[in-house]
């Protein structure tokens, strides 16, 4: 079996994932990067995007990771995120509605454009993750 490291993904509403993985690819604000075992100590901010985990037994799993911060330490790597989801937990109808709403808010100057932009990005990532099969 391949060498693994301990990964924790924690969101404000609870521990999303806690276990050993061989590799995880996440989207940082500086670009996509992979974390492998024995990575140098490193802390960075994450963008809105998807993540991809390769487990020790060769199976893969992906999900969404909506912003956050990754701390890679000697013993374990911790990802603190605003929200994380597996594709099966994504409510596609809600995401589509959110997308429509965000698009409308963007056109209307009454609403905060920056917030609508983020909401739109979230919705697009969620829909993308759900439809990728």
């Amino acid at each position: 079996m391949a060498k693994t490291f301990r990964l924790k993904i924690i969101s404000p509403t609870g521990v999303f994932y806690d276990g050993d993985v061989e590799r995880i690819v996440v989207r940082g604000t500086e670009g996509e990067f992979a974390i492998l075992p024995d990575h140098i100590p490193f802390t960075t901010t994450l963008a809105l995007g998807t993540f991809n985990i390769l487990f020790g037994d060769g199976t893969k799993k992906y999900g969404t990771l909506l912003g956050g911060i990754a701390t890679i330490g000697s013993k374990e790597s911790i990802i603190l995120t605003d929200a994380a989801e597996w594709p099966e937990d994504i409510d596609i109808e809600r995401a589509k509605e959110a997308k429509e709403r965000a698009l409308q808010h963007l056109k209307d100057s009454k609403f905060d454009a920056a917030r609508a932009e983020i909401a739109l990005q979230r919705a697009i990532i969620r829909i993308g993750a759900k439809e990728r099969k």
């Binding site: 924790k8 969101s11 404000p12 100590p41 802390t43 901010t45 701390t71 000697s74 013993k75 603190l80």
Partner: protein
């Protein structure tokens, strides 16, 4: 005879139905309390990990330039006050209002953010300036609500609408004990964030001193601090929700107890009155029979 049997019976019935209500409320509060405690447990890992990485960054960078950490002269103060939307929870809402009033120095230099209608009503009646009110969220704390509330507050703080922010909520100590608690939310106390525990493990120490921050520590703090503030409020909301249910449970438990006592007293009285009536009837019959013989 001061009261007749019928009156006492009616009172017993009415006390009994009140008892059923208070008892039901007690059970509901227990169930909700359990839910709130579950939320608190789920929040804990994130908060712990966040405090730890913030502490490490602050320790590395020393004094941060982040505006939310810098002290400035205090001209105006804001309070975030967390109370419930409903009463019948013993001293829960009153204690919070009292705590705020004892700390508050100048009514004119104060703005309030109230969560829960009880606190809002209390301060509105006393002509305080209420900047924003949030209703219907006390019972079901939600991280995203907390985040949007704190986003507004941090904006106002950065625009220097006020120079410090206090958070007033009820600490949940146990099911029976809850204390009103006041903490300073902004500006953040950088010293207080530094890790208290010295790291002994050599490997871990090396990984901390060699830690690479990307893009740079300030940018990380910029992400972490708003989240820290939001999460602190979220935690306070959860604890307040738990405290409210705890206080309500205790209040309803003693109400049920009192109702039981009252029913016992009334039943005793009822029996006495009935007995007195019977005794009187017998003595009337006996004296009637005596008169006939």
């Amino acid at each position: 005879m001061a009261e007749n049997v019928q009156d006492i019976k009616r009172r017993i019935k009415s006390v009994n139905s009140t008892k059923q209500i208070t008892h039901a409320m007690e059970l509901v509060a227990s169930a909700k309390l359990k839910k709130s405690r579950g939320l608190a447990e789920q929040r804990y890992p994130y908060f712990e990990a966040m405090i730890l990485s913030m502490g490490n960054i602050v320790e590395r960078t020393g004094k941060s330039k982040n505006a939310l950490m810098n002290q400035r002269e205090v001209k105006k103060t804001a309070y975030i006050i967390i109370t419930g939307d409903k009463g019948l929870a013993g001293g829960y809402n009153g204690n919070i209002c009292k705590r705020v009033e004892s700390h508050l120095k100048n009514k004119d230099n104060t703005v309030l953010y109230t969560i829960g209608s009880r606190g809002r009503d209390h301060f509105k009646n006393r002509d305080y300036k209420i900047q924003a009110e949030y209703l219907g969220i006390s019972e079901n704390p939600n991280f995203f609500t907390a985040k949007s509330i704190t986003a507004g507050i941090m904006d106002a703080y950065l625009k220097e609408e006020f120079d410090e922010v206090y958070l007033v909520y009820t600490r949940f100590i146990s099911t029976l004990v809850q204390h009103p608690y006041l903490m300073k939310l902004l500006p953040l106390d950088a010293e207080g964030l530094k890790p208290k525990k010295k790291i002994e493990d050599v490997e871990e120490k090396k990984s901390l001193t060699g830690m690479i921050y990307e893009p740079d520590p300030e940018a990380l703090l910029e992400y972490l601090i708003p989240n820290y503030v939001a999460n602190t409020l979220y935690g306070a909301m959860i604890e307040s929700a738990a405290s409210e249910q705890g206080a309500r449970r205790t209040a309803m438990e003693s109400a049920t107890e009192n109702a039981n006592e009252m029913i016992d007293d009334l039943t005793l009285k009822l029996n006495r009155v009935r007995q007195a009536a019977i005794t009187q009837e017998i003595s009337e019959i006996v004296s009637g029979a005596d008169a006939l013989s």
